[in-house]
């Protein structure tokens, strides 16, 4: 198993390098230049030349890429064109805050979605299943920002129960110290993932419930709740884990919306602003962060899968 995990990690590193090359190429081949975007359309040729020279944009692409990789390895992503701060500082401020928000909301979504999917599978075709199916589709089709606004309107504007803004503290500790303010953003993001997670879990659990070993468990005299907990849940989780690993980018895009609705400056907003102002250093760095998050997500999913499924644990020596 160790050999398999090492091999899998090696693969992940190769993919990350691929992501870097690709984003670097895409950004530099895109029309419009950073200089014009930063200095405005009226900038003179000299000012553009000065800007390019100062930022190394007049060097050959390969050289620029080499510098980028070398600096990235040192944790140095250059200075933002528009915000005039080191990119690494910007990311260091925002990434942990996002990790808190996304981690909590994904956890919440899973805690609800897994039992919900199993429940629906057990009651398949009956009223409870139909109601939850409709609910999932409503959640799934509703735009996330609308959803956030709806919750704000209800819980903070109408009922004055919860603040409409996410915690404004800079540090993770500070964010966590204000749990009340976290509720709405976390719930908003969780509801978005809940719909798809519970659908996956439902169909996977339906498949497991039809398997012979579940009937065997019942024939042993196990009460239904133990049948579900011991013999259905873990088996049904396996295919869902893979999906989860691939859901990382979707979760990150969800974050952009939640960040703007709840005024919670994180990676999403940073990326969005950088994209509109062609702030190359930030774009490169944050693409890299999302790329690494995705690769890490599927790597973690594979590791979890390996731990949960003995067939793989023993085979992949």
């Amino acid at each position: 198993m160790t050999a398999y995990l090492l091999r899998r990690t090696g693969q992940a590193i190769v993919v990350v390098i691929g992501v870097m090359v690709l984003t670097f190429a895409l950004i530099h081949l895109a029309p419009g230049s950073a200089a014009r975007a930063t200095l405005g359309t009226k900038a003179t040729a000299e000012r553009i030349a000065v800007f390019n020279a100062a930022n190394g944009l007049n060097r050959p692409l390969a050289a620029q890429f080499a510098t980028f990789v070398k600096q990235a390895a040192e944790g140095n992503f250059g200075t933002s064109y528009s915000l005039h701060e080191p990119v690494s500082t910007l990311i260091a401020q925002r990434l942990p805050r996002d990790a808190v928000l996304l981690g909590l909301s994904t956890l919440l979504a899973l805690l609800v979605a897994l039992p919900m999917g199993v429940y629906q599978a057990v009651r398949r075709g009956r009223a409870g299943d139909h109601m939850l199916t409709v609910l999932s589709f409503v959640l799934y089709s509703m735009p996330d920002f609308f959803f956030g606004l709806l919750l704000v309107a209800l819980f903070s504007v109408q009922l004055h129960l919860l603040p409409s803004q996410a915690p404004q503290a800079q540090s993770v500790g500070g964010v966590l110290a204000d749990p009340k303010a976290l509720v709405l953003p976390v719930v908003t993001l969780a509801l978005v993932s809940l719909a798809s997670f519970s659908r996956y879990m439902r169909s996977s659990a339906i498949g497991v419930l039809a398997q012979d070993h579940v009937l065997v468990a019942r024939a042993k005299g196990l009460p239904e709740h133990l049948v579900l907990r011991r013999h259905v849940l873990r088996n049904a989780l396996l295919p869902v884990i893979t999906v989860l690993g691939l859901a990382a980018p979707a979760i990150v895009t969800g974050a952009v919306i939640a960040e703007s609705v709840f005024n919670y400056p994180g990676m999403g907003l940073l990326f969005y602003q950088a994209a509109t102002s062609k702030d190359y250093p930030i774009l490169l760095a944050s693409t890299l962060v999302v790329g690494v998050a995705t690769v890490l997500g599927s790597l973690l999913a594979d590791i979890a899968y390996t731990l949960l499924d003995p067939r793989i644990r023993y085979d992949r020596g």
Binding site: A219, K220, G221, L222, N235, D309, P310, G317
Partner: protein
Amino acid sequence: MPPLLDVRNLTTHIRTGRGTVRAVQDVSFTLEAGETLGLVGESGCGKSMTGLSLLGLLPPGGTLVEGSSVRLDGRELVGLPDRELRTVRGNDIAMVFQDPMTSLDPTKTIGHQVAEPVLLHRGVSRAAARERAVEVLGLVGLPQPRRRLSDYPHQLSGGQRQRALIAMALANEPRVLIADEPTTALDVTIQAQILALLADLRARLGMAMILITHDMGVTAGNTDRVNVMYAGRIAESTGTDRLFSRMRHPYTQRLLASVPRLTQDPALLLPTIPGLPPDLADPPTGCRFADRCPYATARCRAEEPQLDGTAEHRFACWHPVDGPAPAEIGGKVADAVAGAATGGGEGAAATTGLAEGPAAAGTVVRPRAPEPAAAAAPLLEARGLVREYPLRGSWLPGRDRRVVHAVSDVSFTLARGETFGLVGESGCGKTTLGRLLVGLDRPDAGAVTLEGTDIGTLRGGELRRRRRDLQMVFQDPFSSLDPRMRVSAVLREPLRIQGIGTAREQRARVAELMAEVGLPERGLDLFPHEFSGGQRQRVGLARALALTPKVIVADEPVSALDVSVRAQVLNLMKRLQAAHGLSYVVISHDLAVVRHLADRIGVMYLGRLVEVGTAAEVHRRPAHPYTAGLLAAVPVPDPAQERAKRGAGIGGELPDPAAPPSGCRFRTRCPLAQERCAREEPALRSFGPGHTAACHFPLVAPAADSPSDVAAGRP
């Protein structure tokens, strides 16, 4: 004293999208301690549902209808609250299911799963439950039970898993064991071991057993009494001996007649039961068997016969028969050949309304297998075929290069119009060999020649043309097909790929093919899933015939089919061969099927061909101990014969094909093995014309050693 288990008027209905399925109707029987009751019948006749109903384990939508009663030791189980019923399940009544591959939770250890019912019902400590698990795993003959506790199901072979499942069911010493097709998914050799184990345990623990099976041979040797079920009802119920010798119900008679036997005259067609069982969502009024019964009258269609007769022999029929049908009832192969040309069919099938089974009349004589002189120029020849698959991960540095020896040095010939049967346990390399023969896979060494041309050297157009002559038929031809393709497209595909004929000619050929395999032209517009298993196999044969091949390699062509449908397909294969002078290579784990179809038989063990000979010779005078063991393990539908050989057969399991034993590969399981067998690999020797076997200590004297091999003793 009340009987141990007393079932009365058991009726199970299942509400589904297409209406209420009457899965079990009015089933009554009793069972005493120490007794084994067989439940037999074709697929879908309600055998499993009867077993599950006893435990109250109904599928969603299932209910036991008012009036159903199941008494265990006088205690009524129907209507018990679920909590009380659960104390019966896995404790007083336990169940073993058909497929050991899917019946264990893949994510839990064997120890956990076997200890689970003990922990649940006996209220003992975890450690005590584990000890009990070790004990029962030992009882069912799993080697090194303590070490197996921490194994996961995928680390066990099929036979070992079935042992673990039986251990699980026996952990609490139940009084009734319901075994639902416990050996259907296993090889004959392992089947014999498991059945012997069940009989032994039943005797030792004084359990009662309900043995659910569709195999009349298994029924013959392992039951005291039998309930024959048809379409959810009991058709006949009596003692096992009486059922096989003096059955009264026409269904029992025909079911038994359609079983291919080792002793069957291959020149005769198998008697078949035309059509399919009725749809249980809409059962016919009157006798449910009427549509397929040769004795049906107007009364049968109007009035349903009740289960009646004496206490020891009950049957539900207005016009009971008296004993078995004569063997010639199916007719001669030769007579059936011209029948196809005139078309027509007997009976109507239920699911799609298509006719099953060709009519028989006419006198075209089958071109027999050629004389030994003609065999000098074989149609197809395999010479020294070797195929080895590297094990996963073995390319990594620091690991041994391990390979699975799937096919090792196999040679044989196939003459024009001949059928060569290949038998052996699963995993012995039969399918790999079949794929090599038709060029779907390439050998690592050796060659396959068709009419003298090495098909391995062919390329491009020449290869494509030669491929026409070699076709393959699979166990289920549609599992590898696009479910959205109509049958007409399926049959035209090979013609189109080979660029044969205009569109109109192709359509005409497709229609011809359908008639050839006994399907109406109407079937062309249907999709694969709209066919029954037997009809699908007919389409599979039609597809193989499309390019008028010379050789058809059929891999387990009837394994997925019910007894009566199996007989229909076997007859069809014989008729097609006679009509087109086809040569077959038939691969099957079922010796009776191979015996029925084949002129010559090759026995494979762990990649090697250990014995080859004419079907009659191999059957009558097997030289190799493995062949003899396989033959002994085949259950025959004759109670006296079956009981006589209880415990015979081959012990142990197929060794790891990546590390075959030294010397003779069979030596780890051979009762005759001696020291020389481990040292020296036996070469093939002659045991008479066309009969070779590879064994140092054969059961009959080799031809060279004994001038009169007829005198050699039989095992």
